[in-house]
Amino acid sequence: MTIDPRIIETLRKQPDIPELDLSWLNPKDTPGITVKLGKRGLTLDEINVGVYGEVPDTARHGTTRVRGSTPRPGVVRTAYFVPEKSDIWADNATLIYEEAVQRQWSSATDIPWESVEPLPDDVEEAICQICTFLTEVEFIAGDAPGQWLKQISPDHYEVALYLVTQVMDEARHLDVFRKRALVNGCGLLEAQGATRGLRNILDAKDFTEMSALMHVLAEGFVQTMFRTGEFIAQNEAEKTIFRLCAQDESRHVGFGVMHLRYVLEHAPERREEIHHYLDRAEQLFGHPADGGNAGLQEALLITMGGGKKNIDRGAQLAMALNKKQANEYMHRLEVAGLGDRRYRMNPALAMALDPPKA
């Protein structure tokens, strides 16, 4: 913007006006742009144009400077951010962020709680055990992104924005499963405590490690379980809970898969490293030293079978679920570019895999 010097001269004659700078009115590196609304409104993709859409491969400043704004000399550093885009990026971050914002739901009012009616004691206990497990573990996927947020540079803000939606989703999952356990005459039952598999997620010292373990493996397994919720659910409320949670979880898994793909495309030398993370995670999944997850497994047998007297049917459905979990996990790995994982997957998982497609 060209500032008319006569205006400045006039202003300076006015009393009580501090010394004016106004240089910020004519920035050199932050051009004016006009964006256009798309079919989905004014999304992040619509504003990522020109210099504002240039995501640097390396974030070099440790301040809260917003990408595309004019740097100010002398600003103190805020944090040590992960500098490399390839360490944290996923090309679908903006899409799933916008979807997450659109698809928020309320556990208080969007679940038809009135459809929950008394169930046989064994089935109600089993549902409550499943809910105890889920209300316990869901927020690990809130704590883990939370501890990584402080390391995401504002130059890569799209990733931070996606992660805050995941934290919000997981809060809602913690909330809704706790509510289900406390609405129909039972209560919370046995928590697993911190298993090695879950602790492994918080222990991760690398973002990709955390994402592979959490998004692709753990949340992938949970998502498959949610998507077969019709075999677990006993009423419309539970069906709705599983459906909405599955919808949320799909975004988390989607980020993890695309992040893994991005890493392998831009840092292919990390392939073996990632396999190493998954080697450990798959081994810890259901580690015998943790006593297995008998509570969840037995509760699934009961709910899927429709009662303790039908655990044989429940066992068949549970094994079908295990098979589905393993195969969908393998599919995600293939999409991410880790198809070779089939040949080094932990045997306890691999035994459930279908043969590879010709």
């Binding site: 205006i7 202003l11 009580d16 501090p18 004016l20 910020w24 920035p27 742009i33 006009t34 964006v35 409104g41 004014l42 992040l44 504002y52 809260t64 917003v66 100010r72 103190v76 916008e98 914002v101 309320s106 556990s107 208080a108 009012t109 206990e125 690990i140 809130g142 704590d143 939370g146 501890q147 947020l149 402080k150 803000y157 931070a160 934290v167 809060a171 913690l174 909330d175 509510k179 406390l182 609405v183 005459g185 039972c186 209560g187 919370l188 039952l189 046995e190 697993q192 405590g193 911190a194 918080l202 015998p288 509570g295 037995e298 044989d312 094994m319 295990n322 045997p347 306890a348 035994m351």
Partner: protein, 410 residues
Amino acid sequence: MTQEVTSKTAASTAGGIPADLREKAEANNWPLAFIERALARGAPPEVLHQALDAGLTPLEAMQALAGSGAGGGLELGMAWSKVDTERGIRAKLGKKGLTIDAINVGSYGDVPDLWPDQSMRPRGAYVRPGAVSMGYTIYSKAEVWADNLGSLYEEAIQRRWAPATDIPWHTITPLPEDRERAMGQICTELCEYNYMVILALGKWIREVGYGYHEVKLFLSTVLFDAGRHFEAFRKRALANGGGLGMQGTGDRLVPIRDAMCYSEMATLVFLMNDSFVLSLYELGAGLAQNEAESRLFSLAAQDKARHVAYGVEHTRFLLEHQPQRREEIRKYLSKGEEYLAKDDVQDVPMREALAIHLGGGLEQIGEGFRKLKDFRRRQVLAYLDRVETAGLQDHRASLWPELAAYLEPA
């Protein structure tokens, strides 16, 4: 598959798998973990021998066991159903649905003053002995609590909005360049503040123990709000031919960055900085040049009001239960005020942008500066009112001098 029980005996090895079964399983590439689980669930070793001899895969063996019609060797332990947790809970739907407060009944609503449990045990559940630590460092209720957490959490979800579609962006029409640039500068710095909130809360949400899940739930909504505000103000800056402005000084963010305990962070973010930002959002709504800005700033203010409400109630709770921390909290406020005042002086672009916005244009910047002084006075008064409501009476006497100067008669 038959289930004849033979009299075969086998020596056990460490881990509980008979040696001969172990040897056969390893020769057939069966995972030993699978064998352990099958035995734990009551599958007779003889049955597993038969499955191995038949050349079945482990999965086929399990399916056969399950389909045998006689429990298939699957016996439910059911230990999880016999734990000593409170039963018979039937939380009731209220006018606002099944809220987080509605389920805080019986022992499930007892929020302990201390929660030393380092696991992820949900409050009211039983946890098996031996659960490892997940590293939660906050186990004192007074450090994090506020009585309005449940209602604020539910309200945040009910009042959700999407910047992409809930803001009538099409109502933005070209503004004079000076006003557009001023708006861009204001939006740039609001983006920075909200990103700092994301950085700070991400760190602290992870530290809160599971005994205070209401705190984790509420902080999740604040993170989500901060992300949405960052998004929305960036969109506004880029929507109308202007662009982003100059980076802020970062001074006001330093105390937040440096907070070494939760209450220090909460004091600086929710009680102090958010109070000033709320006033700024309200100003933005009042000076809106179009429906988009009016709605954007109003919705942001609605969110921010919840954050401030938590800040006030948390501080009040803390001071009621730990009155010895009164002076400590004053020191956090004092540090925050010092950096805020410094920021106010150093951040010339923001000051000039606000003056242009308040005055109605560059040529009216003189009038704008006069209105800015009045606005600052209102900001400080609103802040003082909140601090005193929180239990720090007479804070005016402790107010940082440069901020107190705004309260002096003109």
